[in-house]
Symmetry: C2
């Protein structure tokens, strides 16, 4: 495992932070179904009403994100105007969940889109901003919503379409993170930024298969860049590959000389119980990895159970337009290397 004295680029696709920025606080606001799942006890709040008291799913999703941001700020005893930048995104067209969640916080804003990898993109940019000396504090957030995502990408809920076993269930929820240039017990030691990987898969109800090659590419390059082996990590978490995607990921990495079977977990597999919750292959959406990180992973790290975790949210880059026009579904994955300070 690499150990350097200075911040800077590392290997082909990574950055190493010797003076590592850290997570000061975080919050997870989850939907009802997520609250009933195996990780339910880890979330800051579970909201029974999918619309969160609003008129529409989209406004409801904004409410989840706004609440996550406010809760994270409150835990850090900081105000929105202490944040120099806000990095945020979601799955809806033109990022409307994020726009209407954060517009009144009055923080310089960068909207980002990495499909379900968005929280990884937000944390990557946040860490680059802090370690680059541009800010003391920044806020990073991502959200998704089952109702809004089904309406955007698939069928009206009222149509009650059947779902193949390979399909995933979009998580309703939002995670938010306050990051500091110098503080925090959980630090970001480095990042590995993903390339778009397109294996030509065209099945929008099997997104695990679309994203697994991207996850394999990013994890492989991360291990190379950091001169690391899977044994250096307590856990390697992908975002939302689900069971089908997990199998492909493990095979692809094994073919390339890395066996991560012992370390690998997938937020999408952890977050629901498929036997009782009818969630197919697992959870998905920007919120899936965001609330699993903010609820579950950070807690395991703070309790000292895991000292080094590679967090690799995964995104499937499609829209209904590109999909219906016959385009494939490429994937992308961004890795964040968390360590206990």
């Amino acid at each position: 495992m690499v150990n350097k004295k200075e911040n800077g680029p590392l290997g082909k696709q990574s950055i190493y932070y010797a003076n590592a920025p850290g997570l000061v606080s975080w919050a997870s606001i989850a939907g009802k179904k997520e609250g009933e799942g195996p990780l339910g006890g880890y979330f800051d709040q579970v909201i029974e009403d999918a619309a969160f008291g609003q008129d529409t799913w989209e406004e409801g999703e904004s409410e989840f994100m706004e609440q996550a941001c406010k809760t994270a700020l409150k835990k850090a005893n900081l105000q929105p105007n202490d944040m120099r930048y806000l990095y945020g995104g979601d799955l809806l067209g033109q990022l409307i969940a994020t726009t209407f969640a954060v517009k009144d916080m009055d923080i310089p804003f960068f909207g980002i889109y990495g499909a379900c990898s968005t929280v990884g993109e937000a944390l990557s940019m946040a860490s680059m901003t802090l370690a680059g000396g541009y800010a003391d504090y920044v806020l990073a957030t991502a959200s998704s919503h089952f109702g809004g995502a089904e309406k955007t990408f698939r069928f009206p809920l009222e149509y009650a379409n059947q779902r193949p076993v390979s399909s995933t269930w979009t998580v309703t929820g939002s995670g938010a993170f306050v990051l500091s240039a110098t503080k925090g017990d959980i630090i970001i030691r480095g990042i590995t930024t993903g390339k778009i990987v397109d294996y030509g898969v065209k099945d929008s109800l099997n997104m695990g298969a679309c994203m697994a090659p991207a996850a394999a590419s990013t994890i492989y390059q991360h291990l190379q860049d950091f001169s690391a082996t899977p044994e250096d990590y307590d856990r390697i978490f992908t975002g939302d590959l689900g069971k089908v995607g997990q199998e492909i990921l493990l095979n692809l990495l094994e073919e390339n000389g890395y066996d991560i079977q012992k370390q690998h977990r997938d937020c999408g597999i952890e977050i629901f119980d498929p036997d009782t919750q009818n969630t197919g292959c697992g959870g998905s959406g920007c919120g899936c990895s965001a609330i699993t990180l903010a609820g579950y992973i950070t807690k395991q790290m703070l309790e000292g159970n895991w000292k080094r975790v590679l967090f690799v949210p995964t995104g499937a880059l499609l829209s209904t337009v590109s999909y219906n026009e016959g385009q494939p579904i490429p994937g992308i994955a961004h890795a964040i290397l968390f360590e206990l300070r």
Copy 2:
């Protein structure tokens, strides 16, 4: 005008680069109507076929962006794998124009969305990445397409709806920029990152009015942060306010003590001739400011006509979903301060 020895945050919303990154090369690929406009002679290529030889507008838009990236790389005599990062975005849901434009370039990719301000967001992040010591070269790009945007945001073209005079015409085209940490005759001396500004305007056919308050906010804060007056700039270019938005911008800034009437230009006003081209209030879309910068502004700077230009692309943050659900249209604007080295 501020003059500092070190890179770092400046004032409330800005960054100052003492060691400024620069534009090494750039390219503008424009549509037929843009080629027939007043700036037509400045573009690298004018493509007569709106679908750029593809089956759909969306695939055509990807082709514009891919061509812009390849042309910029070729001018710099660099390959895609010389680029450490690629920052790019467009107006379509889930950034599909960008995804399918750049997916085969094999460059670590950050997808971004700032509506029509996207090229400003891309250049902001690119400059932060370079000045932060994370890369030698990065690529920044943005695109829009009249057909794709009308289909996404308004009516099917076949419906031939009437357009009020306040409406703008989405530019078909893409601009791409190769940036270096140390090279280039046109440098980025600083950036001012915008906040979302919501005046409650709900008219999607008057986007100038939605965006003008955001442009005013960013320009005001830029002048404050840089201890500058409008006279310090040869030009202050907004993205796509059009004539209605320009009037609002000038009034808002005058109320706050700045008269920028002499310096102000708007890419949307410059790019079309409303008398002969039936383009309403002016051009709009991510491509509008991107190709005006890559075609016209950079050329004026290189010829020595302008030494310092503030470039402020403006974005209207809406989707058909948020709009039809009764939400207002907030705006955002990101400022890039260009100087001759």
